[in-house]
Point group: C2
Chain length 501, copies 2
Amino acid sequence: MSEKLDQLNKLYAEIDDLHRAAAILEWDQQAYMPPGGARPRAAQLATLARIAHEQFTSDRMGYLLDSLEKELGDQPYDDDNLSIVRVLRRDYNKAVRLPAAFVSELAEARGLATSAWAQARHANDWAMFEEYLARMVELKHREADYIGFSDRKYDALLDEYEPDMKTTQVAEIFEPLRRELVELVRAISEHADRVDSSALHKEYDPDKQWLLAHEALRTIGYDFHRGRMDRVPHPFCTSFSIHDVRVTNRVIPDFFNSCFFGAMHEGGHALYEQGVDMKYERTALAGGTSLAVHESQSRMWENMVGRSRAFWEFFFPKFRKAFRKNATGLDAEKMFRAVNEVTPSFIRVEADEVTYSLHIMLRFEVENLLMDNKLRVSELPAWWDEAMSSYLGITPPTVAQGALQDVHWSIGLIGYFPTYSLGTIFAAQLFEKAQQVMPDLQEQFARGNFDNLRGWLTENIYCHGRKYTLNELAMRITGEPLQTRSYIKYLKDKYSEIYEL
Amino acid sequence: MSEKLDQLNKLYAEIDDLHRAAAILEWDQQAYMPPGGARPRAAQLATLARIAHEQFTSDRMGYLLDSLEKELGDQPYDDDNLSIVRVLRRDYNKAVRLPAAFVSELAEARGLATSAWAQARHANDWAMFEEYLARMVELKHREADYIGFSDRKYDALLDEYEPDMKTTQVAEIFEPLRRELVELVRAISEHADRVDSSALHKEYDPDKQWLLAHEALRTIGYDFHRGRMDRVPHPFCTSFSIHDVRVTNRVIPDFFNSCFFGAMHEGGHALYEQGVDMKYERTALAGGTSLAVHESQSRMWENMVGRSRAFWEFFFPKFRKAFRKNATGLDAEKMFRAVNEVTPSFIRVEADEVTYSLHIMLRFEVENLLMDNKLRVSELPAWWDEAMSSYLGITPPTVAQGALQDVHWSIGLIGYFPTYSLGTIFAAQLFEKAQQVMPDLQEQFARGNFDNLRGWLTENIYCHGRKYTLNELAMRITGEPLQTRSYIKYLKDKYSEIYEL
């Protein structure tokens, strides 16, 4: 390895350490921190962010990247070292546009807003969060201005989570999809009696739910030697190293899906992070390549695996063992149908596969309104209620079940939501391919074998870390760029069968 | 405030942020981290330590201290700003002697050794820890050489935990005390039948123990809004801010004392950290002033409060409510006597007040042998067993109950143990004064009122943070320097009465 490459890797490893340390502080903030800790924690996060940003945007980093681009120019595209330089260059060019003081300001605002959000949501009180969100929106406006954009201000934010994706592209994907989904929801609503999910809305002992969620994670191959699951108000997955990837989750005592599919969803993210080639530890290639690719994995394991008939053929006996009383009158087939009930609901993370993307489209719409200065933060809850009525025909009874439900905006994640749907779309494209390559995949699931799917995903996606972009992965694996055809086909096939459309 | 003072405080605040972030990573490492996380965590801690050290020992810090010493020279000794500069100067002069690379090396070794220790202790296997300890001893030798010493190498290490304390002074305090303690233990052993502690060695439901430990913490005034308690292999207290001070604890299912008095002990540390004047947040004055003063608080709340007759007059009904079956045949008086049983035992943290310091003297002796190159790490377990036999007349049945019992050496704390006894000695000196000032203190305890003691300690010790040293506090509060008279009197009075000597 060249001396400069060695220097670059050493410099980046320490920046990575700072980012991971911040992730630990943020995890604790959600999972364990007492209320008094909020303000000092925000200051600590701001300091870590500032130092990491200063080191990353240092002249030395710029010099090393310049030198190494020349030195490695002849290497093949997928050479590890060239890929490290390529990925760092992309991050670097964006980072140098943000002043260190702004990065620190944003980190501190995130720290404060997260705690305020958790309290506001708990108290069902929008007013407790409004000023923090207004501050965050103002900061994201400034961030977009720093980063720059040619068409829409939202492009600058979207690019952070999904490199090279544009607002108009997302709109072009969403618009026809919305029509398909609305049509499918309508058709299903006329056959609503085909599915009975009442068994899921019973008392489920929280401790047993927690144990079964662990069982689900073990089933799909999550490595507890390199991870653990803790309780938080809003589930997420976070990675402190390829060797320490944590999931978080919550339990709703009278609804089965939340904890169980929360574990499957975050477990999907975690499989991705745990599956990165260990040689990339503390390099720029460690971690998932983009949010949409990340979501393709969480949504695939949650829905295409966890809500498949085959999965429940294998898993239903475990469910019955844990919840004998609630399982009375149920069987694998009824369970499969119950967990796939399509019905308009308030909470995005608990939405079914068909209505899910409508929740995303609503958020995409409102985030654009905020970034185009066409909506004030104070008007958001009312706008939300109207939009829910127009998208899904229902109105949230409380703001906690409405505009306050997601943690994202409090931690500055504006432009992030579309990646959930883009990821879901990609998941279907990948899953179609996986089934072509492994035609007996469903039979494998029914036998409790998820190793081949995980192995195929590891080989094709996980192990590469950040080396390839979404579109590069799509081309390499499926031979075509991201497309919605597979997704629409997947939904129509699955739900036509379930609802006898 | 002068411009330079402002700059100093800003610079230090960020160094403080880095130290607190490291404390969070270390807390997680003990409380929650999965085994796989050990190696990357060590790297992260090393990076935080290195950056904090570099910033602290920067020329800028030296320049600001030089300038401010001139600028503030006329201020009274206890002026906040002058005190900040004085305390930073003491730390700075020591820190600049340690190369940044060494600090980072030490932090990484700590990270690795802590995990190795936890696994070795769990497996009762000295060999799993030996090489890590040997490495740590080697590092502490180098540290002492960097810091420098005129008499004993151990002085350099001791000074880190107890500023200005010398090895010979400790020996001078310990030697006569040892004779008194050995004599007292001997006298008590002839009256051993006066106390029956069998009720404490029964099955105590772990969850109920945990709840009662919370009750104990609430009783003494620990603020859960600014703290929490988590399970670890070896209890400790850590502070992420004056607003986020955490205790950790463990539960032994068939022994009452461990969890309960663990909470009282760590709670004492925590009251100190929570009691620092909030205006010192993110300054050099935030936190306890020295380890001995810290231990004076943990030992006072654990023993002088928690093992007092008056405490159990108040607390026994709560104990009985939690453990109705085990409480059969007990009353407050019997409980008071039971928790004060004096008997040679293997585990330091569970030792009674009389034998406790003998455990410390053993550690003081062996640490000096290691630092004087008179004992090899591989010889330590055998030495330990012999020393236990000579000090306490017993031999540990396992190495986990012997040389592997304490976390300290794995995190580089050599020179720390003596502060436990110095603190205990100081606690008696302080407590004697508190009882002079508040003659009805025991009656207050019996009524469940611990606010006046905590208030008096807050006003005289806690609120000052690091402003005064141990001896300064002793002089200010009791009018004399640290002395063992009060401690010996306290032990003789208490145990002569209990054991009818």
